[in-house]
Symmetry: D2
Subunit: 420 residues, 4 copies
């Protein structure tokens, strides 16, 4: 008579073992919503896992967290619901088709119950204007804000009976944060927190600090430079959780880092590489604010010099074009010189839906850092550089070199023992 | 009294050691002329070696034949002079500037003296129409034609006191040659030669056979499929000379083989990859003939399936647009599917001068096969795959993988002892 | 007591006066389905009349047939239903959104009841392969086929109590029809019909002949050259109905005819104008057949010489790219020469949904030929040239000249008395 | 005996009658140099008059000043010579070929003798940095500066025995000039000159004022808003000379004004029209200064609203890309909405050499304003709108409407009597 329960319990435990929490900072943004909806759609067999490297033969045999076991929650500063956010995406570009939304409607509602209020501490006007007047409650003192984030994370894990959880930063790009000695060491930073020095942090600094303090793996998917300041990285290394970042490589920069090596291989001198980017969604609104744009442009501009070994004349222009929605369109013009000084050109137009390109990378990354944690790796995960515009832990920008490093890591991980 | 002559002789010998013959089949075509003019311009310090891999730090320390020691000669079917050919290029696209032509005028004249009549055996209408009526003497029987080519090569080396010589096939693309059992083995092929079976060869078959018979390294830079038939390759392996081919990768295919891996890396499914190529020079005239076009299109169409692991809908269209001259312009459209089946696109326009892009590859290749021969390598040189659309000796089409193989070979070659 | 019925009857008559039949040959093709669905959506206030010239201030005050009074019927060779056809379009490119289809579902069903079997007489393999085996009944003798088409049209008008009806040819492009003396005069053609000379007609010849015989205005929207042969045009002139054609100008050619005048204005010599078109829908399948492609390419190739006054090197290539569906993508490259012979270029990429671009033109055209008939105009309506690639009744290809002619005609028509 | 001299004198008079002075403000800029070199090349029969409207059948029978009778002089602020300026152009983009420069070398030297120092009054940093330190002499008081310009013009005409002279403003784009009541009337402006109010003028204001004061026709070919202020225009009307302006329409805006009507004709709603322009010559250096860029961008941004009747989201970005030299490259992206709200796009890349495109317009314009003066026309010449980005005297921006107005004027001018 006792057996059935036990058997069931065993099964529960088995399923339990595969359940992994995913905490999204910026939980109802276009990308977070696409990540969640896509993960559920694939888990329910409604869509193929197109776009995921972790769904290719390369990942076969790896003990990755199954998509169907991911439990999502997160912080968000805007008043909305995942259902509303998903419908907005459907209306804007059709990337979340109506039948899919219908099929995962209950999942969206449940997800909404696991989303709590985010912090707006020193978020900057670009982000603050996303929040309707009066909605942004007066921010708490820094130490209280951190404590609340930690409590939110602990509550989520407890309520969902999770032993493992990955944090992902998907918040809108923040304004650049002026470097400060307070960022240099964990001790200095803690004193700044104690002193409630708000101008020394952005919301994502607190999120990352909280994740590090709880020993949770962390993916920094946006360009914000305030997130993984040295002090926070020190805390990750100290506590032992792996992290990866920064700024998902999804569009123009992806193509750039695939194409630039060609010019090196052929000893063709790049004279100018100009990029003109247009985007129209909430990201565009935020980037239309010059403060935030500066962070983004800097993030895109480092690739060429590293790959080519010299810095050609180069500029990345970004404009907000509302009618495009999330369908980013970028035009790049490459002027180069060959044999006997002859000048030639290559130009390309990239038309891609940003959230559609980014969402599978987020799923890949959270599965891979989670695996890295079980494999006992800590700190910056340089083998994940191919996913980022500004890879942390390596200077390598060549997409192909980055890729082969990932392949080597996956090959090593396959079969190697991991923590239970 | 005897010393000065001796000293001079020693110096001559030293310089002699660096002299390497380069025999170009198709010696006054746009590419051959650019190769020669460029090599001389660089040798005389009039131009930087932009475009040559063998002029980058990668090749430092390698005992490569110096450009200033290359002695050029070749076969040609058209009546012209290198000076005239060079002026034609200058007028068409300015890639050989007037001051450069003036500075190497004597070199051009000397080169002209080392060019002899090529063969037109079964060359096909597209090529035959390049030769004015009556100019094409009745072709010799195959055995005599081969003997004459061998004599031409031996005479060149003897007259120029060369001990080493590399052959390069730069003839216009020939019509496809129907496969035959006579191509399968050297013995069968020699019987065909004895039987004067002209329909079983093209001019480049005889050129390659002659090179192999004299143990000369060979670079097959065009798409012609008649050149390195199995029988000829057998003769190369048997005699010991290295060879490399086929079809220099200079434009649209170069970009394609650099970009296609991106889609694999990101698990983005390529639905369609359409390429539209326009070119206007003599190559265009020849390709305007459907027979010759078939050879070219086939050569361009193999890249995607090998890199992606599946064959997307794909077509490479080629049109003759006289006003473009040698400035090839190609437009490629890539339609692909990502997360949740969403469709996106990438398009690029390549505007490059074909001879300018190809000439440094020819110089790289001839120096590298010559080095390979001194290093004792024989047969197909697969490490040179990155230079070709249809690499012989490997199926690898991924430009980056090809490149890293070349780097590995160069690294191994550096410092390793070579034949004197 | 008698008044209410009378009043109602008057109102009915008033409404009746606004009812105009629209008979579509090719009634369930992508274009016809979009025309019908769009007309109903606009009539029901579900969509703005974007894309219709007859919905702009230019048409204000003109006694055009209101969209809400259009009654659609037609001939079709494939087995399907308008609902199914509409869903196919929705799935392929989303141009008919799901809520719209739901709102007009009953309209679609009703439309289906007014569609009858078309003829396949000498339609050619490209079109015949659209029809499943065995479905294509053995074609009737020509005279019987014509009689059946006439009966279908009369029955439609009788059943729907229509006094006015416009016919529109939207059938897939037919193979070219060899010119014949039997096409030259009405008398000769009637003898051919009597003699059942099937090879001298295509289905659209019979459709146009039937329309002309019943004095119905006719819009020839496709490139087929068999439709408005001289004999049929003679019958239209004789009976008095106006007609317009040929081949709706919707994409690449539209842009070409807008841009080419620029080069004339500036005395810039166009050296080459190359166009590469890709399309993926049923049109593409049909055009993939070389017979049908020839008709289309010829239709696109006449614009430049007329506008520029000379014929530059020019080619229009068309390829079938299934993944694009109805989203035609065209790349054009224009190479031109300016001051002191300097060469420059312009290139453009057009990405447009063909049915979406064509459908409003069909609605404009049928309203305008219907108005022309009431204004007593007969024969070729040259003022509608701006809608066509091969305008009948004029050689003018300059989009701007064409447009100003239409404006002049509309201005004249405004206020001028028309037939009741 | 007296006859031969008389005869000769008659002939001299006849030739004299055809001699017309052309005074270029900015006489050694890239454009002015190309104008001069091109005019001489055509006059000497070395080049066809490609690019000139006044060399097409449209201008046949018009009593235009012949190119071979144009006598060039001008003001310039930089130290250089026309020969040097011409060689710079040759080296940068080859638009002035070496043989041409050789053939007109004496003409260049003579032209140099007719160039005098320009004024730098309040020219702004962008322009001042073109002049090496110390070279810019301290500007004269305004009245003296004007008097010197007038003297220069009178001396040129006297020395060259010219009775007619056209002035053309080709100076680099000046910074915007803040509007002032002193610009509103001639009287107010003269008081400002008397009061030496330098901040109220730019160099081109003084040039235009001087031309108007001497009753010389004037072409304002640049975007500067300081040139034809109301006060100056009043002086032109008063004295009777015709003028035309502003900002030659040569590249992206030319294409824009040819394409935009298409969207109006088809009732397609333009959602966004983004333009990204790159240029690398001296213009680019000047525009790289934000002050001057503002003038240019404003000039480019007015076209769409006038043509379409509404203002879509639109931006014109301009970047300095040195490697391009004078080969301007512009990419435009047009996002538009059609039937049933469906969104589509058109993009184009324009690659044109700016001076090559502009020079023939300058020659056309100076011949046409000179003709207008002889025909007794005064003030703004609106029929020349098709040549300008910001036509003075009309709001019309539609290239086609502009063109047909020019054609109507030319037609009227042909045969009509003109002043001797």
């Amino acid at each position: 008579m006792a057996n059935p329960p036990r058997a069931r319990r065993t099964r529960t435990t088995a399923a339990q073992k595969d359940r992994v929490g995913v905490w999204l900072f910026g939980a109802m943004g276009g990308l977070a919503t696409t990540v969640f909806a896509g993960a559920r759609a694939i888990a329910r067999g409604l869509a193929a896992p197109q776009g995921l490297v972790t769904a290719t033969p390369l990942a076969e045999g790896l003990p990755l967290a199954p998509l169907e076991g991911l439990v999502f929650g997160g912080h968000e500063i805007r008043r909305s619901t995942p259902r509303e956010a998903a419908r907005e995406i459907h209306a804007a570009n059709g990337s979340l088709p109506a039948p899919l939304l219908k099929a995962i409607d209950r999942d969206l509602v449940e997800y909404g119950r696991r989303i709590v209020d985010g912090t707006l501490v020193n978020a900057g006007r670009g982000i603050e204007k996303l929040v309707a007047d009066g909605e942004a409650a007066k921010p708490l003192p820094l130490r209280e804000a951190v404590a609340r984030i930690q409590d939110d994370l602990r509550a989520f894990m407890r309520k969902e009976r999770l032993t493992r959880c990955v944090c992902v930063n998907l918040c809108s790009t923040e304004p650049k944060l002026a470097p400060s000695p307070a960022h240099a060491t964990l001790a200095a930073f803690e004193r700044a927190l104690d002193g409630d020095k708000r101008s020394l942090v952005r919301p994502s600094t607190l999120y990352a600090y909280a994740a590090a303090s709880l020993d949770l793996p962390f993916v920094h998917f946006t360009p914000s430079d305030a997130t993984l300041i040295p002090a926070v990285r020190q805390l990750f290394e100290q506590n032992g959780a792996p992290y990866a970042g920064r700024d998902g490589k999804t569009g123009e920069t992806l193509v750039k880092s695939a194409l630039a090596p060609l010019f090196k291989y052929r000893n063709l001198r790049v004279l100018s590489w100009q990029g003109y980017n247009m985007l129209g969604d909430r990201d565009g609104v935020v980037l239309d604010d010059e403060e935030n744009k500066a962070t983004k442009v800097e993030s895109k501009d480092r690739v060429l010099a590293q790959i080519l070994g010299y810095a050609p004349h180069s500029k990345v222009a970004i404009d907000y074009v509302p009618s495009l929605g999330d369908n980013k369109t970028a035009w790049d013009f490459i002027h180069f010189e060959g044999f006997l000084g002859y000048r030639m050109s290559l130009q390309f137009t990239w038309q891609g839906c940003d959230a559609v390109l980014a969402a599978p990378l987020v799923l890949d990354l959270l599965r891979l850092v989670e695996l890295a944690q079980r494999r006992g790796e800590r700190g910056a995960q340089a083998q994940l550089a191919c996913f980022f515009k500004q890879p942390i832990g390596t200077d390598e920008q060549d997409l192909h070199v980055q890729w082969h490093r990932l392949v080597a890591w996956l090959t090593a991980a396959r079969g190697a023992p991991t923590a239970p």
